[in-house]
């Protein structure tokens, strides 16, 4: 028997993982100086393409008369969702870096495009599949909680740390790798310089465009895998219309909450995940459900107020974020 606290933590981690992936993608993007507000769009694209990846793999296996292997199905979902998110980010990068269009407008357009694209494709593929789009048992099993021999069986620690689906560990690994990359490697230093002061980075011999393209596209791919989590884990491999709605925006807010640090992102994603599921575990008599549902958004507003009041150079948004760079611009 697990007590309420443990279950709440586990539910918070599960609910926070897509937020973490979305926020991590956006942290990498904003560190390069691109403020991509298309997170929601890229997550949607990742969600549908990840699901489609598994679905098509299953179809192909069935057609060939072979057995569906969960590992490959999950891999297909991961690769397809990453590619979809990266593709959205590539469009964004081309518009903002090469054509120097306005970043906010481009990001918003990407969100609208991605949402429409995913919902349309999801409905359409569902009709083709005879009602709704869903993956088979083998794939579902691949996204089920892990049972690691010995570790998962430790009382308390087992459920708290070793009984999640593989995506949770994937997200944590991405966060750690990103933190090491940003703060411990030469390329990370260069990338941060590009985001802080592209003119200074350029004068130091760093290719601003190359770093921005790379970071934005990879960041978009990570956002895409966050969307795939929604369609494969949260909705258990069934396409639900608008399944990502709101998550992408929360991820953008989390970036500020995490002060552009991947490791702090882990913590704040879990907290926000907790706020999203708390209604299912804690009930205060007389408090309407709508109040609970507002919690993450109220918290977002509070966080924005607090971070705006507390002005710190070290934990501020990279100074070049949101601004396009053109070397021959005259000061």
């Amino acid at each position: 028997m697990l007590d309420l606290g443990t279950t709440l933590v586990m539910a918070a981690v599960l609910a926070g993982t897509p937020l973490l992936l979305g926020a991590l993608g956006e942290i990498l993007t904003e560190r390069s100086g691109n403020l991509n507000l298309g997170v929601e769009g890229m997550m949607f694209m990742g969600a549908i393409m990840g699901l489609m990846g598994s679905f098509m793999y299953e179809q192909a296996m069935t057609a060939a008369g072979a057995q569906t292997i969960g590992f490959f199905s999950a891999l297909a979902a991961l690769v397809m969702s990453f590619a979809a998110g990266a593709f959205g980010a590539l469009i964004y990068s081309f518009l903002t870096i090469t054509l120097r269009s306005n970043q906010n407008v481009t990001g918003l357009v990407l969100t609208i495009f991605g949402t429409g694209f995913a919902n349309f494709l999801g409905e359409f593929a569902g009709q083709q599949a005879g009602g709704y789009l869903a993956v088979g048992a083998a794939t579902k099993a691949a996204f089920a909680p892990l049972a690691i021999p010995f570790l998962s069986d430790i009382p308390l620690l087992g459920p708290l740390f070793f009984q999640y689906n593989w995506m949770v560990y994937f997200a944590l690994a991405v966060a750690v790798v990103m933190a090491v990359f940003l703060f411990r490697t030469r390329f990370g230093l260069n990338l941060r310089a590009v985001g802080e002061d592209p003119a200074a980075a350029d004068a130091a011999g760093i290719s601003v465009s190359r770093y921005r393209y790379m970071a934005t596209v990879i960041g978009g791919g990570i956002c895409g895998t966050g969307g795939m989590y929604m369609s494969m884990v949260t909705t258990s491999g069934v396409w639900v219309h608008g399944c990502v709605t709101g998550y992408g925006w929360l991820a953008v807010a989390l970036v500020i909450f995490a002060t552009w640090s991947p490791l702090r992102g882990i913590l704040v994603a879990a907290v926000f995940g907790g706020l999203m599921v708390v209604r299912m575990y804690v009930s205060i008599p007389g408090l309407p459900i709508q109040i609970y549902e507002m919690l993450p958004y109220v918290a977002t507003i509070l966080v924005l107020i607090i971070t705006s009041v507390r002005q710190s150079k070290k934990h501020a948004m990279p100074a070049g974020t949101g601004l396009n760079y053109f070397r021959e611009d005259r000061e």
């Binding site: 490697t185 030469r186 230093l189 002061d197 200074a200 130091a204 011999g205 150079k313 100074a319």
Partner: protein, 572 residues
Amino acid sequence: MSLTGSLQIEDDLMSDTLAVHMENITKTFGKVYANKDVSLELRQGEILALLGENGSGKTSLVNMLSGIYFPDSGEIFVQGKKVTIRSPRDAYGLGIGMIHQHFKLVDVFTAAENIVLGQPGALAMSKRHIESRVAELAGRYGFEIDPAKPVYEMSVSEKQTTEIIKILYRGADILILDEPTAVLTPHETDKLFAVMRNMKADGKSIIIITHKLGEVLAVSDRTHVLRKGECVATVNTAETGKAQLTEMMVGRPVSLHIERPHTAKNDERLRVVDLTCCNKDGLKTLDKVSFTAYGGEILGIAGIAGSGQKELCEAIAGLYPAIGGAVLMRGQWEGEAVMEPVLGLGPDVISKKGISMAFVPEDRLGMGLVAAMNITDNVMLRSYKNSKSPLVDRKTPRVLAEHLIEQLAIVAPGPGAIVGRLSGGNVQKVLIGREIAQEPTVLIVAYPVRGLDINSSYKIYDLLNEQKKKGVAVVFIGEDLDVLLELSDRLLVLSSGRVSGIVDPRTVTKEEVGMMMVLDVVDPSNVSSEPPPEQLQMDLSLQDVEMGASAGGGSASADLFLRDAEAGGKAQ
């Protein structure tokens, strides 16, 4: 055929001995020529000064060497080899490093991080390792630098040192410094020149861009003069002088004499009594500052950077909070002239009292004008409240804008020209012109000629003199001591937020003022409105110390500036 062939060979031989040879370079921005058919030669191990007025194309020319701009036509040879420089990275590859006027440093990074930025090396990077390497390099050239200090905590001079080390770290042997002294105190300038001479002795070839003649003469071996994007002449610095250089720069002989018309002393216009201000760290930026300004005079205010000049004019204008003292201005009350206290009142309330004060701030495009708006709209900012109609009156400001363009010879396509696209001199003319059009009784100008070329500067001095003749009390905060001494009728000297004296510029020497600028006033109550210079408590024996050249903040011995240069750095 054979003729061109032999010329080519000769050319190659010549280029061999040159560190850099730029030939017939042309660069345009839209329809404007930044550089037209310009050639430049930099010899091995020399300091070449690139002299020219603002907009003469000095910076764009060297930007093509450092890979920021790409020339439309022309050829560049580095160490005798023809090269194509497409990016700063290419420039570093050729051993060319540039220190830009606006430093290219990442604010939140430390000195060491900025220095190794973009350099190849091991993927993993340890802070301690790069810091020790930077410290080692700095030590070799005798720089004082804390590799772990973040840029946003640095003084301007420390930032410049970081930039220089950054370029040396990249193994550059051709260094370009763009207006390096614009932001330095005289002492820091001397230190920089010493560093430049050291680097020259080390075999580096250096280009220094400047429009200050004294610096050209002090540090360079040869001088290359540009005017309106074209080459004018190259001379050996030792064989030339200020007058000749100015003539080459401006294109005609220029009198460097500033007029000081005689006017009868008028009534009291502005009285400041014991004005005291604190900054947000609780340090006193102004300490019991008292003075009076009269109509028909120019009161100069001198002091090294950060002595409280900015705070003083902003406090008078009602933009900077004061913790003590009073500011009185001449206003009208029931037809009688009275001195009204204005401290702590907003600009609106002050103008309602019948006081007309104009303030031309140091930060022209930040505080003075809106860069993205046109001349008419900027003029309107001052007058739109005068109309009672719900719609703004655009006609009157447009007429005034046209008038200003004509009267002050502002180079602009028309009153619809966006202010941010005008050159510095023209921006300043718009700002001063607008303020003067308000017919102020008191006019406060802060660093009005900073960054302006000689022609524009003299135009500004003329405008101020005109106001003085009209009977306006002009308060002029300046940085060039020579100018202050020639232009002002009285000169107030600030030192660390205190008045160290008000002197008569006709009789005082530059050295005396230089020392007052770094003097701690023992008893501020001793300062009367016009003490003769000999009353000042100075250790005159200090005058024997070698006096530095006038560079920006005036002149005094280098040692004297040490302590205050540090204080100034912190204040910035």
